[in-house]
């Protein structure tokens, strides 16, 4: 089965693009996913990822019906994700109590708009499935260039401001007392989340993005003692999971996105079950550890 995958990888460019996409997306996924998990904003990522369908649908509609041929669904996804991130972020900062309402609204309205656009685009209703559940095997060289660009931008800005993000994620009030513009960094983090979501939508589709954003980080969280360890571990893990998912799904012709997510879930379950007894053993000698 794996031999078959390696042969295909050697022979078909689409297979190479798929693996490259998975690995590129994994880097952003590990770095930004770690921030998302420690800052506890996975539900914001959920809202952003689902509303992306609206942007993709609108871009495709304008492309096919109005002849805007330069407009690619990934452009629509990017614009929509950024708009949603800023909307959720600003409402969250101004009216904290309304934040979850806005997330739910953005989540569902984005999807509804997407469904409407896609059904009104002649001949493209089948694309709905690939947006929802991912279609990593359909990545074109043009897609790959855009993905590479987004990836570089996200990872670079996430690392350049590492110390600020860590300070804000750990203790927002203290960071504010030190004169840090925490609102700016929060919105910045949401925008990075939005771009990461766009990258991951190509790999596993809209519905399963949250799983890929959080599960590798959760696994890494069992072992990592520092934030950047968590980022490296989860990026590597995510790259391994997406590549393994591609390899396993290729022979029996399974959907790659779903295979990747099931693998990630299995990895999380296994490490959670094994981690507890192991760390309990390791902790026996140190009564103070984990006292909170």
């Amino acid at each position: 089965m794996i031999g078959e995958f390696l042969q295909a990888l050697h022979r078909y460019p689409f297979m190479q693009y798929a693996v490259a996409t998975g690995v590129l997306a994994s880097v952003a996924c590990g770095v930004v996913g770690s921030y998302i998990v420690v800052r506890r904003i996975t539900y914001v990522a959920g809202g952003i990822s689902h509303c992306v369908l609206g942007g993709m649908g609108a871009a495709m509609y304008l492309n096919k019906v109005h002849g805007w041929h330069w407009l690619h669904p990934l452009h629509g996804a990017t614009a929509m994700a950024l708009a949603a991130a800023l909307l959720i972020g600003l409402v969250g900062l101004r009216y904290k109590q309304r934040e979850d309402t806005v997330i739910s609204a953005v989540w569902a309205i984005g999807m509804a708009a997407g469904v409407l656009f896609i059904t009104k685009t002649p001949g493209y209703a089948s694309d709905l499935m690939s947006y929802l559940f991912g279609n990593i095997l359909m990545v074109t060289p043009a897609d790959l260039r855009l993905i590479g660009l987004l990836d570089a931008a996200v990872v670079a800005s996430a690392l350049v401001f590492y110390k600020q993000f860590l300070a804000v994620c750990f203790d927002e009030e203290y960071a504010r007392a030190r004169g840090l513009r925490v609102e700016f960094y929060y919105l910045f983090l949401l925008c990075l989340t939005a771009l990461t979501v766009v990258l991951l939508v190509t790999v596993v589709g809209i519905i399963m993005v949250i799983a890929l954003l959080t599960l590798p980080v959760a696994v890494a969280g069992h072992f990592a003692q520092r934030l950047w360890h968590m980022m490296v571990l989860s990026a590597v893990l995510s790259a391994v999971l997406t590549t393994a998912g591609l390899a396993i799904s290729y022979g029996p012709d399974l959907p790659a996105g779903a295979t990747i997510i099931v693998l990630a879930g299995a990895a999380y379950l296994a490490t959670t079950l094994l981690h507890r007894p192991l760390s309990a053993l390791a902790r026996k000698g140190t009564p103070h550890a984990q006292s909170l």
Binding site: K163, L166, D171, Q225
Partner: protein
Amino acid sequence: MMVGTPRENAVNDPPVIELNDVWFSYDGPPVLEAVNLHIHEGDFACMVGPNGGGKTTLLKLMLGLLLPTHGSVRVFGAAPHHARRRIGYAPQQSQFDPRFPASVMDIALTGRMGRTRLFGPYARSDKRAAARALEEVGCYDLRKQAFPSLSGGQRQRVLIARALASEPELLLLDEPTANLDIKVEGEFQELLRELSKRLTIVLVSHDVGFVAPFVKTVVCVRHRVSVHPTSQLTGELVSELYGQEVRMIQHSHDCLEGRK
């Protein structure tokens, strides 16, 4: 009982912290009413009072994290947010994610925010300042350990180190002795005594028993504020401040022990 310091006569200088007729309320009845408070350089002030009396609110006004509904707050003669570089702050430690992946050094370094460069990792001078601060509180050997794995007393020290890493002139501490057992609290008081030799310190405590020999000013906060030199702190004053609660306060150590 006052401990002599070189700054003993600094009382005539303009105050480090100056609150004039400050009122504050979060959407409701005022938490603080007509507060006038001056803290001078070299002072060690302990703010005591019942829970909900406005101690932490007062501290946050001094940090500029909250703005007064009425009145003015000046720190080092300026609005608090302009004085932030000169203020070290250690919040209550109960508010942290107990699984946050960060080492002790990582946490101490966040104290360099506001002084360090904008882009890229911390500079070597930041690391030196953080290391020095950790050494001062006796936690340098723990620098590589995960912050969540520390005991309550160790965490509290690291939070003080984080405040010291910013090289402040004024230290604001919110309940640094909450949840510490008596032995650790004793060591902790020793640390504060050392720090008070070179810093102006304002400390919040719900525990009037904390008012240690080296505290110079006691600020009683119960919506209104009254200031007393430690020599005036009598049983009568305490019961006036806490009313019915006073019996519980006096036994707070036993209560804490019993709960563990």
